[in-house]
């Protein structure tokens, strides 16, 4: 996994609440057996009309936000389906950080598996960032080590993050490798369970 340390990028404002994972990556893009290439389907129905032409009003079609690496969105971002394709699509499109007042649990966890940083900030702060993002062509800075977002005006916002998740993101750690260090404990758990709850063992 690509580590996340810091990011200096344009931020695209998407002032909508409950942006569900069906909207982030619609169903027709879930038939892939690959992780890569999903950026083309990101926010597909919001980005393109029925004929497949870009909708000019949508922020990610606005040339002023071209190359944006940060998304500033509304409440409960990533709710709905567990599809990790949502995180893959954002990453593939070039978004490495999403800032919102709140995130749905499964999406939030999926971000950390993909080098994507979800930042939850109070609604008032998100509104300020949203305003500063308007017009594009401004650079925001995100620094994970110090847990801060710096807006183009210089205003600084500190965010909270679970220390273990932060560390993994900073180092780009693979959690399977980490868990396999506990292999002996898993063995013991299984032996204990086989004795205590023998009905769970399938013949």
């Amino acid at each position: 996994m690509r580590p996340f340390t810091d990011l200096h990028a344009k931020a695209a404002p998407l002032p909508m609440a409950n942006l569900d994972t069906d909207q982030i990556i619609p169903k027709q893009f879930l038939k892939t057996v690959e992780r890569e290439g999903l950026g083309k389907g990101l926010f597909y129905d919001l980005r393109f009309d029925a004929a497949g032409h870009p909708k000019p009003g949508f922020v990610l079609n606005d040339p002023r936000y071209a190359g944006a690496g940060i998304l500033v969105a509304g409440d409960n971002f990533g709710c709905g389906s567990s599809r990790e394709h949502a995180a893959w699509a954002l990453e593939d499109f070039g978004i490495r950080c999403v800032i919102a007042p709140s995130f749905a649990d499964i999406f939030y966890g999926n971000c950390f598996q993909n080098g994507l940083l979800p930042i939850a900030l109070p609604e008032a702060d998100v509104r300020v960032l949203m305003d500063e993002a308007k017009g594009g062509n401004h650079v925001f800075s995100v620094d994970l080590a110090s847990q801060t977002v710096t807006a183009p005006s210089g205003r600084l916002f500190r965010f909270e993050i679970d220390p273990a998740r932060k560390e993994k993101l900073l180092q780009g750690l693979d959690s399977i490798g980490e868990t396999l260090q506990h292999a002996a404990e898993i063995d013991v758990f299984e032996m204990r369970q086989a004795l205590g709850q023998p009905w769970l063992e399938r013949a």
């Binding site: 609440a17 409950n18 569900d20 069906d22 909207q23 619609p26 169903k27 027709q28 879930l30 038939k31 892939t32 057996v33 690959e34 992780r35 129905d45 029925a50 409440d75 409960n76 709710c79 709905g80 389906s81 567990s82 599809r83 990790e84 394709h85 995180a87 709140s102 749905a104 649990d105 499964i106 966890g109 999926n110 598996q113 993909n114 679970d162 220390p163 273990a164 998740r165 560390e167 959690s175 399977i176 980490e178 868990t179 396999l180 506990h182 292999a183 404990e185 898993i186 758990f189 299984e190 369970q193 709850q197 023998p198 009905w199 769970l200 063992e201 399938r202």
Partner: protein
């Protein structure tokens, strides 16, 4: 020391180790998998030269992509090349790993959240995961069941564990007795209407109260299924005699002496009377009418006797949201919801495709036929059983005939039009009375308009040609 909740008990019993940072390694008793969220996980394992630790604790089905006809042909029935590749990839992956798999056309195949309980693989006290957010369904058995992403699927395949931070405890108590025609789907929609789609974020919800005790296992599964629409990853109902009666004799349920041992353990699975919950909600179901969604989020719900909101009466931020939703849904501010004319009806999905759901819908269809009525001319209505075995049972009971005679299309099992990943989907602008779980924009097909409701309500809407109070058909 304060007592423990049911969630605490299941969690404690599955902690393999705890990191100083706070994350725990939790053992997973059952891993359900399907074609859409696993190919990248198996590819990841191969790339890292890792194997599947417990194929015997894993069960695979094909459900999201499958067409709901001609399944006897197997994968050849799938016209979409990408979908076929995904199904073939699953078949190859599970064969390589030695994982039990019910392929398309096998009567045991069906929607993953119908199959697990039906086979007795889902059991009280278990930890269960699946790369699907509606895994919460299995909480109906008093199992800690949660949806996970594909990286976590890979993690569970490799280690049979999950790394997780413990959630908070929330309890929703349903008191009173519901009026006839009001059931589990209405409880769920009413709850989400009250707490909002983020109301349960960060929590596991335990459902309690006499109205939950009185629910069948099918009803409890409907309720737990919708938990994720309220933001909580898991929902729980403490197991009781209803649970044990459902479990007994299922193909993978314990037998003989093992059954007695299991039962003794299952009877310990409840929240202690002095257990404390971080969040409590109480809902009196005796006051509920059948519920329907009007917007594009499951929290946008109204009794069928109610009206669509009028943005003019709302604060600016909410008004803007509501205007956008009404525009998408093609509804007028303040209109009675029951005036909404429908084009399609979908009875099915992991929320409402079990035998009891089909009986409730068939009951409405039968009564309508007796009065000389059938599915309205302008409506296409489909009934999609949750599994091959549900389909067989319904056919033994003659429900297929009841549906056909009333003008419903009787289909083969799968996720079908719940998520539009297979040929069953809405055309732009079509309005659907649906027993599924999400009314998100485009969920059932681009531009499609979804109204969530119970099976009886959806069947009644098919006959009336518009949203209607199903109690008029009882």
């Amino acid at each position: 020391m304060a007592g423990r909740t049911l969630y605490d008990k299941i969690w404690d019993a599955h902690v393999v180790s705890q990191d100083p940072g706070g994350e725990s390694v939790i053992y997973i008793d059952l891993h359900l998998i399907h074609e859409v969220t696993t190919p990248q996980a198996f590819a990841g394992l191969r790339a890292a030269h890792r194997g599947v630790r417990r194929p015997d604790r894993t069960l695979a089905v094909a459900d999201h992509n499958v067409p709901t006809e001609s399944q006897a042909l197997g994968v050849a029935a799938v016209a979409d090349e990408e979908a076929r590749l995904q199904l073939e990839t699953l078949a190859r992956n599970v064969a390589d790993a030695g994982i039990e798999f019910f392929p398309m056309g096998d009567p045991r195949n069906g929607i993953v959240h119908v199959v697990g309980p039906e086979q007795g693989r889902t059991q009280p006290g278990m930890t269960i995961v699946c790369g699907d957010s509606h895994t919460s369904t299995h909480g109906a058995f008093g199992a800690l069941a949660q949806g996970i992403g594909t990286s976590e699927v890979e993690h569970v395949l490799a280690t049979q564990t999950l790394r997780q931070l413990k959630s908070k405890n929330m309890r929703v108590t349903f008191t009173g007795a519901p009026a006839p025609g009001v059931g589990a789907k209405d409880f769920a929609l009413a709850m989400i209407g009250e707490i909002g789609t983020a109301g349960g974020t960060g929590c596991v919800i335990e459902y309690a109260g006499e109205a939950v005790r009185a629910l069948s296992m099918e009803g409890r599964m409907t309720l737990c299924n919708m938990t994720i629409e309220g933001g909580a990853r898991g929902g729980l109902v403490a197991p009781d005699e209803t649970t044990f009666a459902y479990m007994a004799g299922r193909p993978s349920a314990p037998k003989g002496g093992a059954w007695e041992l299991a039962l003794a353990h299952w009877r310990t699975l409840f929240s202690d009377p002095d257990a404390e919950f971080d969040k409590e909600v109480v809902i009196d179901v005796s006051r509920l009418a059948p519920m329907v969604t009007w917007g594009t989020s499951p929290e946008d719900v109204t009794p069928v006797t109610g009206r669509v909101p009028d943005p003019a009466a709302l604060g600016e931020a909410r008004a803007q949201q509501v205007r956008r939703m009404l525009d998408y849904m093609g509804l007028e501010p303040g209109q009675p919801i029951a005036d909404a004319r429908i084009d399609r009806v979908f009875i099915g999905s992991c929320t409402n495709s079990r035998i009891e759901d089909l009986r409730a819908a068939a009951d409405v269809a039968r009564r309508a036929t007796e009065r000389g009525r059938r599915v309205a001319d302008h409506v296409r209505a489909m009934v999609v059983p949750g599994s091959g075995l549900v389909k067989e049972q319904a056919e033994i009971e003659g429900l297929d005939e009841v549906f056909r005679r009333a003008g419903f299309d009787w289909r083969e099992p799968g996720c079908s039009m719940c998520l539009g990943m297979n040929p069953d989907r809405l055309a732009p602008g079509e309005r659907c009375a649906s027993t599924s779980n999400r009314n998100f924009e485009g969920r059932q097909g681009r531009g499609g308009r979804t109204h969530l409701m119970s099976p009886a309500m959806a069947a009644a809407a098919a006959i009336a040609g518009h949203i209607v109070d199903a109690r008029k058909f009882l």
